[in-house]
Amino acid sequence: MSSRQNARRARGWSWRWLVHIITIAMSIAWFVPILGLFISSVRTQADTADSGWWTAILSPYFTSKNYRMAFDQIGVFDSLATSLAIAIPTTILTTTISVIGAFALTRMRFVGRAALSLLLVALLVTPPQITLVPLLRLYAAVGLSGTIPGIWLYQVGFTVPYGIFLIRGFIGGIPRELFESAAVDGAGTLRVFSSIVIPLSLPIMMSLAIMQFLWSWNDLLIPLLFLGGSPMAAPITVELASVAASTSQGQGPLMAATFVSALIPLLIVISLQRYFVRGVLGGAVKG
């Protein structure tokens, strides 16, 4: 018996080491590309052409020139402004319209309610590509092509099923008594919505807002297709893609621009991780 216990302990010991080794190796491996990005963004052009980014760890010589070039020549500042002009309204509008839809879907009775819920679930995983041909032509016909509000319209409409789906469960969890006592007090529907539903749904609205901001900020396909001919600078994803294709700007400034583009979403995920996690776990799949 004791020899078996010893064997188990020995096995447990080596198992525990394996757990640590794999966990640490994976964490490091996942961080290395980001580290490489940052280091390349502060190395000189000559160094980058001469040796791999990791050599800079042993013999650091850093410069801010790439960042100056990213702002002066690639026009990162204007691209960030465009990205914000797309992502902030898209985020707020998606959250607003989703909470309105979720409230109606959970608290009101009407014919076809169950069918509507099923439709929303089906639309969750619709690939965006299926919408492109008709909407490109529609946008061209009504003058929405190349406009920022056109992008809001697309991104909000595309995410509203997900938003309603995410918030729905949360509103369903609000105790019935709250609504009943509000009705007894004579509160109208709008009053119930703004003084019960909104305050109690704030955490999940925050989660939706974060998910939508990240999606909108990181989206390439929609602005690439719909924003051509806009008087504004291209949003940061479109700008990065075109700089990466041209290579005339050199590696350093591209890496600096990429690092800047990743900074805002990285800060959001790190500082608001709790809400981000809830958004991921509550929504599961999105097309």
């Binding site: 309105i100 008709p134 995920v269």
Partner: protein, 326 residues
């Protein structure tokens, strides 16, 4: 109007403050009108007032385009003449077969690689004191755009001919560790490039999968696990006969999420190879049919193929939703 269209701050104020206030005001007006109606009529019309905007958006951005695209897939390049199944025949021959083949590789390899790695991470992270740190590091790439991810990984995959200093992380590492290793041109070698780009997608999205599986792993009954261990079951046995069956629903969620991502993969391929070196995928081909060939019929048929391929996942989701009893 024009000064509005190119001023970011004004646009943000209009979109993030103006329109939401307008929406709220319109709801107020709608409610006022409902109050003036007889009680019963008001009660019946209320859902319409509240659902009008969400429904209008969904119809405009999702439902109408789906129907219209299916129609266009039977039309010619200019969407003017009916051509029957010509586009469908085109979609399953010639170089389209290679494109579809690449997407099949994406749809098989990305979900499998994601699930296996996420399971390992979810189970192992659960047992270390620094779980939060490890989790945060794995989550970092999920914040980054696929475009930025692609740019970042150009450094991992950079290639110089054998004999010269390797600037890419993988080639440098392998040259240093494996005697006689010949540097690989990761992004220019057919098949290797597809797998290399799949790895980027795994890197970008693994954090989401680990979060989902990790939440499921923590819900597994601890006493059951302890009992199995006392009975002498080793960790692998415990995992496969207790943990895995319990977390199967979460594994399915991860699989379908990754499948959807693989099906419509675009950004990484567009930025890194633009479909060259036999790495093209359906979504990138759709983009070039739209913008270079300007062929609406071909673009539509590609979109319909994507939709049909997504259909099993859609149905699975609907079935899952119904079984949860609304």
């Amino acid at each position: 109007m024009d000064f509005l269209m190119d001023n970011a701050i004004l646009l943000i104020i209009v979109g993030a403050v103006g329109i939401p206030v307008l929406i709220y005001a319109l709801l107020g007006v709608g409610e006022r009108i409902l109050d003036l109606l007889p009680h019963k009529a008001g009660h019946r019309l209320r859902p319409l007032v509240w659902l009008f905007l969400p429904l209008a958006l969904i119809i405009l951005i999702l439902l109408y385009p789906v129907v219209s695209t299916i129609r266009s897939s039977f039309m010619d390049a200019t969407d003017a003449h009916f051509v029957g199944f010509d586009n469908y025949v085109w979609a399953f021959q010639g170089d389209m077969l290679g494109v579809i083949g690449n997407n099949i590789v994406w749809v098989v390899v990305l979900p499998l690689a994601t699930v296996v790695m996420a399971l390992i991470a979810a189970v192992l992270f659960d047992r270390v004191a620094y779980e939060r740190v490890a989790m945060t590091l794995i989550l970092l790439p999920t914040a980054i755009s696929f475009v930025a991810g692609a740019v970042i990984w150009t450094q991992m995959y950079a290639y110089q001919p054998a004999g010269s200093t390797q600037l890419g992380t993988f080639n440098a590492l392998l040259t240093a560790l494996v005697p006689g290793f010949r540097p690989i041109s990761w992004l220019q070698t057919p098949m290797v490039n597809t797998l290399a780009m799949i790895l980027i997608a795994v890197w970008l999205q693994l954090g989401i999968a680990v979060l989902i599986l990790s939440a499921a792993v923590k819900n597994v009954d601890q006493e059951l696990l302890e009992a199995a261990r006392l009975d002498g079951a080793n960790e692998l046995r415990v995992f496969f006969s207790i943990t895995l069956p319990v977390i199967t629903p979460a594994v399915l969620v991860v699989l379908t999420t990754a499948m959807m991502a693989a099906l419509k993969i675009f950004d990484i391929v567009y930025v890194l190879t633009n479909g060259l070196f036999e790495s093209d995928v359906i979504a990138n081909r759709l983009y070039s049919e739209l913008f270079h060939a300007r062929d609406y019929g071909h673009a539509s048929v590609i979109a319909v193929i994507l939709l049909v391929a997504a259909l099993p996942i859609v149905l699975l989701n609907v079935a899952q939703f119904r079984s949860e009893g609304e």
